[in-house]
């Protein structure tokens, strides 16, 4: 069953022109000049119960807008959107009890009070039965290791600690779907790992559907089997991480340091990507001969000092995807 279905959604913002100063403010009231900006364009996808989906795209791709529509904060301009069977903004109050939302850059905690106070208020607002609350609290406290600072004021927590607490709070009312908007932004490696591991457990064991936006590909790799890539408001890829890697990542890069200027290297299956003094970066098509073979053949013919093989990580796969998109845009503009 689809827990989220997005059908041909478009969201346009009207940006009113504003004039500076007091007189300008008055003027803005009367001249309603505006520009329309399309953040999301004819977008469609659906998410099944229990999935974990990474939602990503370059800055300004309309990721946050889509999350805001799915959580009932914003209303689509055109199209049909259903979350848990109802239209999010119409059933805002009911839906909000069944979803959890974490914003990486906006805290929902009381800054000057101990974490526990925010949790207790959350319990009250979401009308969580005491037994359920205790059970979920225990689960989060244990797996996120937040016991040590649950009585501390939020302002004394590190960013990593605070993020763990934010995520814990979003799960206290047992949401069916957890939305996370850049949950790992600004965190160190250990904090990121902790959060990823936790989210994986929440998804696999508690069967909570997860939708997360991020710029960190490791989040996607470790949490989400499926990714939706958007650009300029439209879906450009929807499928598994593995598949995307196969489609775009079947190239490897080799960085070779030469002892002296090797001249032009003529070898089938390699392309020169970059040249910095005696350091050259080549790309190899994976399907042809093994990379080792090629490198050793080069080493036999040319003065090679050192060589390192870099497999395309998910980051460079995405970079390539974004580059392709940008080039396609450019062509469209010129053509």
């Amino acid at each position: 069953m689809d827990i989220i279905s997005v059908n041909d959604i478009t969201k346009t913002y009207r940006q009113y022109r504003r004039f500076p100063g007091l007189i300008g403010s008055v003027r803005s009231l009367f001249t309603r000049e505006y520009i329309e900006e399309t953040a999301v364009r004819n977008l469609s996808f659906s998410i099944k119960e229990g999935e974990a989906v990474g939602y990503l795209g370059p800055n300004g791709a309309g990721k946050s807008t889509m999350i805001k529509m799915m959580t009932g904060i914003l209303v689509p301009t055109v199209g049909e959107l259903r979350v848990l069977g109802s239209v999010p903004h119409q059933a805002r109050k009911d839906n909000s009890r069944q979803i959890g939302v974490v914003f990486g850059q906006r805290s929902q905690l009381w800054w000057d009070l101990p974490v526990k106070d925010s949790f207790d208020l959350h319990k009250y607002i979401y009308k969580i039965p005491p037994i359920t609350f205790e059970k979920n609290l225990e689960f989060c406290v244990e797996l996120l290791a937040i016991k040590d600072f649950i009585q501390k004021p939020v302002r004394q927590l590190s960013l990593g600690q605070r993020m763990r607490v934010e995520i814990a709070m979003a799960l206290l009312h047992e949401p069916k779907i957890l939305f996370l908007d850049e949950p790992t932004i600004g965190l160190d490696v250990i904090a990121k790992d902790q959060i990823r591991q936790f989210l994986r457990t929440v998804n696999r064991d508690k069967r909570v559907t997860i939708v997360l936006t991020t710029h960190d590909m490791k989040d996607i790799e470790e949490i989400c089997p499926r990714m939706i890539v958007v650009n300029k408001g439209s879906v450009v890829y929807d499928g598994s991480v593995v598949e995307l890697r196969n489609r775009l990542g079947n190239e490897r890069q080799v960085v070779i340091d030469f002892r002296e200027e090797p001249g032009l290297i003529d070898m089938p299956g390699i392309t020169l990507l970059q040249e910095e003094g005696l350091r050259r970066t080549y790309s190899f098509a994976k399907s042809d001969a093994s990379v080792f073979d090629l490198v050793s053949r080069i080493a036999a013919k040319y003065p090679v000092e050192d060589a390192s093989i870099e497999s395309a990580d998910i980051d460079s796969v995405i970079r390539r995807l974004y580059q392709q998109l940008a080039e396609a845009d450019l062509k469209r503009q010129i053509g």
């Binding site: 969201k11 403010s25 009231l29 959580t71 904060i73 914003l74 109050k93 929902q108 208020l121 607002i125």
Partner: protein, 264 residues
């Protein structure tokens, strides 16, 4: 949104304030001194002219105190909340209100309930009681009920107007100048309405009904001349507050809908 939830929020807000106890007490103290200064200015003024538009010092003190007391009540539920709305919308923190299973307006005003107005309440309440005793009025129960009603209504007038200004941030973002304008107008009602020209009198009665906060109620209670309103309108005055607040709430919800992009 229930009273119980409001109670919970107040407990947390109090706890939060107590984290900065010294700051809280000092700023309350500073507010009291500042308003005492306001009272003194008016008092000095009256020492010179004996009366203002026929109002004596205790009468003016009553007028001013009703205005300040109601302002404190109304503003504790609206001023900072509405002034900050502009930046909340800009920074996206407003969104957090919309993902909670609560009425966003009621939650916003209660979450921001401002305990700092305790200073205003203390000083205006004291002067109010002093002026009533000084005036030696033969009040029956109905006058006391009337006073309570107009205090509630006055608070709602303030909260309603501030809510309308706050709601503008959903649509035009800049609200600073409107708050400035509001405080300029609020300064007028420290004095009896008849000292102003017809334009100001009409402005404060019809357009921005601040005259209903303190001037009309005080004029009726003291049987002074209420200029634009006849005596029989006395019991209509407490209705202006709920009306104003209702209008503010509707406009705010309209603005919030507009922000969400629902219905145009």
């Amino acid at each position: 949104m229930t009273l119980q939830l409001f109670g919970k929020l107040v407990r947390l807000l109090l706890k939060e304030r107590m984290e900065y106890r010294a700051d809280f007490i000092l700023s309350a103290f500073a507010q009291i001194i500042a308003y005492a200064g306001d009272y003194i200015v008016i008092w000095l003024f009256i020492q010179r002219f004996n009366t203002i538009a026929g109002w004596t010092w205790p009468e003016i003190a009553l007028l001013y105190s009703i205005g300040l007391f109601t302002y404190a009540l109304g503003a504790s539920f609206s001023f900072v909340q509405m002034r900050e709305l502009e930046s909340q919308v800009k920074q996206g923190t407003f969104d957090i209100l919309l993902i909670k299973p609560v009425n966003p307006y009621l939650y916003l005003v209660s979450r921001g309930f401002n305990l700092g107005y305790i200073a205003h309440i203390l000083i205006s309440g004291s002067v109010l009681i002093w002026s009533i005793s000084k005036l030696n009025m033969q009040w029956t129960l109905s006058e006391y009920i009337y006073l309570i009603l107009v205090v509630v209504s006055g608070a709602m007038i303030y909260a309603g107007i501030l809510t309308i200004i706050g709601a503008v941030s959903f649509i035009w973002i800049r609200t600073n100048f409107m708050f400035t304008l509001f405080f300029r107008l609020k300064d007028f009602i420290a004095y009896p309405l008849p000292i102003f020209g017809t334009f100001i009198q009409l402005l404060l009665t019809v357009a921005v009904p601040l005259a209903f906060v303190s001037f009309y109620p005080a004029a009726f209670l003291l049987s002074n001349d209420a200029t634009l309103l006849p005596q029989w309108a006395m019991w209509m005055v407490p209705l202006i507050g709920p009306l104003c607040y209702w209008a503010g709430y509707r406009f705010w919800m309209y603005g919030a809908n507009k922000y969400q992009g629902a219905g145009g």
